[in-house]
Subunit: 522 residues, 2 copies
């Protein structure tokens, strides 16, 4: 182990873990994809974000478009892609007597090639908006853009050529990259077309997020987050079965804990591995549950034994956060994620996630014959008792969270997943939740996933299917080629970042329907 | 010879000539130059374009500037450079959780890093404005910009980082390139400091324009133009003595005439040699005079013999343009260059350039014992007689041009250089020109060069020195590190392109004072 200092933080680097992770790195799979048409986008309030993409010409005619100053064209690749764009740019007219100045704008959704990025005014960096402005000095040019993009639509704006020449575009293609091997996926036979489609879009979403690590979103942030990893791993076990990629990611997280042994919420992979300075209560615990899920599928005891101390340490640290009542201390800062929701109190769902984790960690401790097993078991009993005593409100029939006794969907869903109540009580709780619909709802597919899994856990299979089709099917009906980071059917413009331009429209935590459908045989 | 078709034009490609030119290509000389300070630009009407650059910090403090969204800094390299920019970009703060979006703006003059390029509205392509906007995904980054720039000032605008980090810049440098070997230049000993300075700036201008060919301007158009080549070659013979580069350029022009044998006004060198579709009466003739000048310096008879047919052909084609009076036909189009002047009639100066060329071509014909020598001599007599008969106005005491009998500076200057009148008459004509100052004046250093050489030809050495110091010294007093494409002391904002932002501030045709000073021992 050596110590790395990142801006006053101490990171303990376990090089053998990093080396093991790097040994598991394999070359990405590539595929050449060509565009399928020329489209125009039009304002239409019946479409998501108010923009509709309409095919206006066959792609074969692209090469006949001679574009000069101020001209533009939008090309449709027909599906969501993650990869590298190439094309040949050919001059038309006199020999080019000035450089070409050209802008490329990449859109996962029509809105991104319709509304100018200059109007973006959200709080996260505008540098995520996918565009390139460049000069080409010599034409013809075989242009190979060096950055990776996540897109379906490409808008080309010719900013200037010269009065003596224009340009046309030929041999345009994208070399896609992924670490997901499609041949490993068993085709789903399902009588319901929408369920088949949801499964397909889930798998495409997962595929495009599977790179050298499980990324959260290939457009943004292109990073390994623990919360996303946990769900991607579950979907992966049912589809691509790239278990080594899960193993690699676990070793990466285990390789760079902080001085207390805390696992970071996410890792940067370049220029070399760096643990982010964000630490989240729930995400750190998910290191342990992700290890549990991995072991249950892969039966890889060596990895379990090696990573067990790190997993156990996350539980220890979570237990340290308990107050004298055995309830996790609340906090006004971003200490636990749960969902993108400004008003959501995180206490009760975090308490539930601790319980959820403890139950799995106890199983791992038993497997490893760890002598702290009975300590964990005793602790679980105390915590579950405290949870019911302090967070369950008999009066309102809901778990409540924080000083203001907030009733939220998240609290109920996670308490059901943690199996704090008995089966029938959990079932009643979920049905009451649906019926009474408290104001603090769910914003992300991430949170909605947990709701559907909670329904399945209590045996409400029909409701689960119905909600899956309503929510993920809703995205498909709204034009999703891959599932989105954010979707609120009641507020389709919702963005926690201040603009739907910056949202990610292929996001790992939204890929779980394939897991739910296949695992629970929906 | 093979035939190349460029947009309905036929180009006769003489591959052995192209091959010979390519054999003369040598690697460019490189030098690493670091910036000398951090500057701010301020509005000040006492300075050219109304902008003054003021040093505000030592360059050593650059690395301490942490720049976030909206921040900028201007770096001064202390002298005009042509080359490739490199730097190290380092993140400051948390690990970068979003790409860096950054803009680099390059300025030969303070105005270019002070007024936004978005306000440019001139008629030639805005793509010449030197800026790059790019995303950097991984930091720290060793950035090596692939394009060549021509600049002294570099403005860095950080468009966005993220709220969690900023960036700083280290190890910034420019790797300059030139085919001019400074060690070949004999230092000028001169008692007049301004004359020494004019000589130095001339040489620097020439140096920065000498690349794989003699370029007209390293910022714009970066191209081999015959009119510029002729003057660069003259300055080169007195300084860097890279005669092979002149030879190379002559072979290039000779390698791609059109189907009539006409030499193009300029050549594109990339992706492979292409003759531009611009043909100019004066520039084509200058192929012959440039060959003459080269032979007189290099004494290279083999090249003279090989290129003689092409040179002779330019004269033949010019003679074909004579009307029955032996006067070149006027034309409202851009058929002859002479100067950047919208109202200038080109007839009389073009007639003079034909005579000027004929006198040199006759000398070459004699050397080669060409049996067309006497034909040329007879033709010269006829043309000179016609010129005096039809273009000289006894009434006004000036040569006149075009249907409206325009009196211009250019007509008189070129008639003097062509030695159409006797020595004393030429001298009187020039003095009368200065005294009466007709409205159609001179706009470019190119035209002003010819004026000074005309003064020297008639023995007005003091006037020549005085004008040299007034005109080129005026540019130095106005802040020139290299001489400018355009300078009108009476209208310093003049641009034939509609904006001083697009003017070239290191331009080959302005480098001639070193030739005039050294050749005429001023």
């Amino acid at each position: 182990m050596h110590i790395q200092k990142v801006e006053n933080r101490v990171i303990n680097v376990y090089q053998p873990f990093i080396d093991k992770a790097n040994d598991l790195l394999t070359p990405l799979l590539e595929e050449k994809v060509e565009p399928i048409g020329i489209v125009e986008t039009k304002k239409d309030q019946d479409y998501i974000h108010g923009w509709k993409a309409e095919k206006v010409e066959a792609i074969q005619s692209l090469k006949n478009h001679a574009l000069g100053k101020g001209d533009s064209v939008i090309v449709d690749f027909g599906e969501h892609l993650v990869g590298y764009l190439s094309m040949r740019i050919v001059p038309v007219g006199s020999p080019p007597d000035a450089p070409l100045h050209v802008k490329f704008t990449f859109g996962e959704m029509p809105v991104e090639v319709s509304e100018p990025f200059s109007e973006y005014n959200g709080w996260i960096s505008s540098s995520w908006l996918q565009e390139e402005v460049l000069h080409v000095d010599v034409l013809p040019e075989e242009l190979n853009l060096p950055r990776r993009y996540s897109f379906r639509y490409l808008k080309i704006d010719v900013l200037d050529t010269s009065p003596k020449y224009k340009v046309s575009f030929e041999n345009m293609h994208c070399m896609t990259v992924t670490s997901a091997d499609q041949t490993k996926v068993v085709t789903l036979l399902h009588k319901d077309e929408m369920m088949k489609k949801i499964d397909e879009v889930s798998i495409k979403t997962l595929q495009d997020c599977m790179q050298d690590v499980f990324e959260d979103g290939p457009k943004r942030d292109r990073r390994l987050w623990l919360g996303d990893l946990r769900l991607q791993a579950l979907a992966n076990y049912e589809t691509f079965q790239n278990n080594d990629l899960v193993k690699r990611c676990l070793y990466l997280f285990a390789g760079v804990p902080d001085e207390k042994g805390r696992v970071s919420a996410n890792l940067f992979m370049k220029p070399s591995i760096i643990a982010d300075d964000t630490y989240l209560f729930d995400y750190s615990l998910f290191f342990a549950t992700t290890l549990y899920d991995y072991y249950m599928v892969a039966d890889d005891k060596e990895t379990l034994e090696e990573l067990w101390p790190i997993a156990y340490r996350q539980v220890e640290l979570a237990l340290e956060r308990l107050d004298e009542r055995n309830i996790v201390k609340d906090d006004p800062t971003w200490w636990s994620f749960i969902d993108w929701h400004e008003e959501l109190n995180k206490q009760a769902p975090s308490q539930a996630i601790l319980i959820y984790t403890l139950k799995r960690v106890i199983k791992l401790a038993e497997i490893l014959q760890d002598n702290r097993t009975s300590f964990l078991e005793d602790k679980l009993v105390e915590i579950e008792r405290a949870t019911v005593e302090h967070l369950w409100s008999e009066e309102v029939g809901f778990f409540v969270s924080g000083d203001l006794n907030q009733r939220s969907w998240a609290s109920q869903v996670w308490m059901v997943l943690a199996e704090v109540l008995d089966h029938e009580s959990s079932k009643r709780l979920l049905n009451k939740l649906i019926e009474e619909n408290p104001a603090i709802g769910m914003n992300t597919p991430y949170m909605n996933h947990h709701f559907v899994e909670a329904l399945l856990l209590v045996g409400e299979k029909e409701q689960a299917i119905s909600f899956l089709k309503h929510y993920w099917g809703g995205m498909i009906n709204d034009g999703a080629d891959t599932f989105w980071e954010l979707y609120n059917p009641n507020n389709k413009e919702y963005s926690p970042y201040g603009s739907h331009l910056i949202n990610s429209y292929c996001h790992a935590w939204s890929c779980t329907p394939t897991y739910l459908i296949r695992k629970y045989d929906l």
